[in-house]
């Protein structure tokens, strides 16, 4: 079923069946491509609606932080505990590099996250791979010398996967780390892009991905514009590559704006609370 959520000014005026009832679905989709409209009604450079928030769980134990990131129907929640003293088992592993912060990462996806139901709650290979990839990204971004020998636990849960889950996870983890006060060098922001019919498109959805379109996930550090994540699957012709890459970079910039706004909102609120408390103490 086509989702019209997040469609902006370019969205179709009415839902699918009323207008296109007389035409077969495939023909209509082909017609749409010629008008630069994607199956869910977006234009090629239009992202789905983003909702994100920090501090979604009120945690008073362990000085943790948490964040929720939603783009379209892709939803991810991340929680960060720490930095705290390393656990005994982790200390042994980290003994060789005591000058570093130990990062403990666990990614899991909910049973109901995709259309095919996952039948067990145990970590499968896909989620273990995802944990490794996300861990290596965050390992590069942490400022290790500020909390040597300590440990950070990062847990991320993918509640629903509707395309662009990898990028959503990276953004959620960044926000959660900021909320927890783990020292980061910079924002890590990620965005996906794709290409079909010679048109580069931003923010791939699951419906598009299932038709075999390539998916390029790009993650950058916001200030230095260094690329920290780049991953692409499916066939993408080399002549189109730079176009898709530029679009993904543009997407990262827009994503950064959203994340910065969220942080600003959170911390201005925090500042107001602190000021109010100080005022109360004085009187």
């Amino acid at each position: 079923m086509f989702c019209t959520q997040g469609a902006g000014s370019h969205s179709l005026p009415v839902s699918w069946p009323e207008t296109y009832g007389k035409m077969s679905r495939q023909t209509t989709v082909d017609n749409l491509w010629t008008q630069n409209i994607r199956p869910d009604g977006r234009s090629p450079t239009e992202m789905r609606q983003i909702k994100c928030s920090m501090g979604v769980f009120d945690k008073d134990k362990g000085g943790g932080g948490s964040a929720y990131f939603q783009i379209g129907n892709t939803k991810a929640v991340a929680t960060v505990y720490g930095p705290h003293e390393g656990r005994a088992s982790q200390k042994k592993v980290g003994a060789a590099n005591q000058d570093k912060m130990t990062v403990n990462f666990e990614y899991s996806s909910a049973c109901f996250s995709t259309n095919d139901r996952k039948t067990s709650t145990k970590a499968d290979r896909k989620s273990m791979e995802m944990s490794c990839r996300l861990k290596s990204i965050m390992d590069n971004v942490f400022v290790h010398h500020l909390s040597e020998g300590s440990q950070v636990d990062i847990y991320i849960e993918l509640i629903q996967d509707d395309g662009g889950a990898y990028a959503a996870c990276i953004n959620a983890v960044t926000l959660a780390c900021i909320d927890a006060g783990v020292p980061l060098q910079d924002f890590v922001v990620a965005c996906s892009a794709t290409m079909a019919h010679g048109i580069p498109m931003i923010d791939i959805s699951a419906a598009e991905k299932s038709t075999g379109m390539p998916e390029l996930t790009l993650g950058i550090l916001s200030k230095s514009k260094e690329i920290v994540v780049m991953e692409q699957n499916n066939l993408l012709k080399l002549i189109y590559f730079s176009d898709v890459l530029n679009l993904a970079l543009d997407g990262c910039q827009r994503m950064l704006q959203v994340l910065e706004e969220t942080c600003y909102h959170k911390f201005s609120l925090l500042q107001r609370v602190i000021e109010a408390n100080l005022r109360r103490e004085r009187t």
Partner: protein, 353 residues
């Protein structure tokens, strides 16, 4: 169970407070905290609920699948629970740390739902011995702030109540085997009847008194608890004792009576909530729709009886024509095509025996 460490003084404060009927957050022993229920949070499930009770936060989603009934219960559908204690709730649940808790909760839910009256499992059967609906209830624990079991049971009842089960419009015959054809209309569904589905009331014993809706601090003060499944009529469907405390027979009887009373109230509130969610959904579909739209054609009406073989070719062709209204196929054309392709085995189409 995710527990927190309390000092002896803190424990003393809580226990003495409970004895005086004033708990740490100002409630009396038999007060429930307010809960928030949000429906249809997961768009690719047949029904989903996010239920939040103070700090406890759970997402529950149901997915309906086609399966085959168990051999010893050929005329019943299936209901399966799966609890996932995410490490988001507590670092203890990392890796396989949450498995024990998940299995405990799963067991209690299964036992309280396995009574014959809880849910009409016969309505989940499509073709006896061959096909039935399998309803998978997946529970994701996002945050654990005490009274987890009650919250999960309430969420399950609400989620089953709003679960949209796609209607079977007819039977297709593959190699002579009947195979159900599901509707392609996403608004054509039925609801389960959950009026008699149980909720679970957990009664932890703090000091000498039972409390309901305990916080995580109160749970860590109690040695054990009783989990009691209660229906809306106040009947008990299951009793589980969790933990390592012992009860006197007299206090046990009193506590079960208490649970039945509390459970009845919870059931009433939940059913009201389910009805309001359903009516919202009905309005969302189309306010001008005739009343009976959702139940346009059920399996029973089509098949007219339990025996599968009574379906006529004409009926099946009607169903096909309804499924592809835009196609140019007329009914006779379709019937002819189906006959040509040997779609129906001859012995089935000729006779009704």
């Amino acid at each position: 169970m995710a527990e927190i460490n309390l000092s002896d003084e803190e424990k003393y404060f809580i226990i003495v407070g409970v004895a005086q009927d004033i708990r740490a957050d100002g409630r009396a022993r038999l007060d429930y905290r307010s809960k928030e229920i949000e429906a249809n949070v997961i768009t690719n499930a047949h029904g989903s609920i996010r239920i939040k009770l103070a700090e406890t936060d759970v997402i529950i989603a149901t997915k309906v699948e086609l399966g085959s009934p168990d051999e010893d219960k050929p005329e019943l559908g299936k209901l399966e629970f799966l609890v996932d204690c995410s490490p988001l709730a507590s670092p203890e649940f990392e890796g396989r740390g949450g498995d024990q808790l998940s299995e405990t909760i799963c067991g209690i839910l299964t036992s309280s739902y396995s009574t014959s009256g809880a849910i009409d499992m016969k309505s989940l059967c499509i073709v006896p011995e061959k096909f039935c609906y399998v309803i998978n209830v997946d529970i994701l624990v996002l945050q654990c702030g005490g009274n987890l079991l009650d919250v999960i049971a309430m969420g399950c009842k609400a989620c089953l109540g709003i679960c949209e089960i796609p209607v079977v419009t007819g039977l297709r015959f593959d190699l002579g085997e009947p195979t159900p054809v599901f509707t392609t209309d996403e608004y054509e569904f039925t609801y389960l009847d959950v009026r008699e589905a149980p909720v679970v009331v957990t009664l932890p014993r703090v000091g000498r008194y039972f409390v309901i809706d305990a916080t995580i601090e109160e749970e860590s003060c109690s040695k054990g608890k009783l989990a009691i499944g209660v229906t809306s009529k106040g009947d008990i469907t299951s009793i589980d004792k969790i933990g390592r405390c012992c009860y006197q027979l007299r206090s046990l009887a009193a506590s079960i009576k208490l649970a039945a009373k509390v459970g009845q109230g919870l059931n009433k509130v939940l059913l009201e909530k389910i009805e309001s969610i359903k009516s919202q959904k009905k309005q969302l579909i189309n306010p001008d729709f005739p009343e009976g739209y959702i139940r346009r054609k059920t399996y029973k009406e089509l098949v007219a009886g339990v025996d599968v073989k009574i379906v006529r070719v004409a009926d099946v062709a009607t169903v096909f024509a309804e499924e592809f209204p835009t196609a140019t196929y007329s009914k006779p054309y379709l019937t002819e095509k189906l006959n040509q392709a040997n779609f129906f085995s001859s012995d089935w189409t000729s006779g009704e025996d």
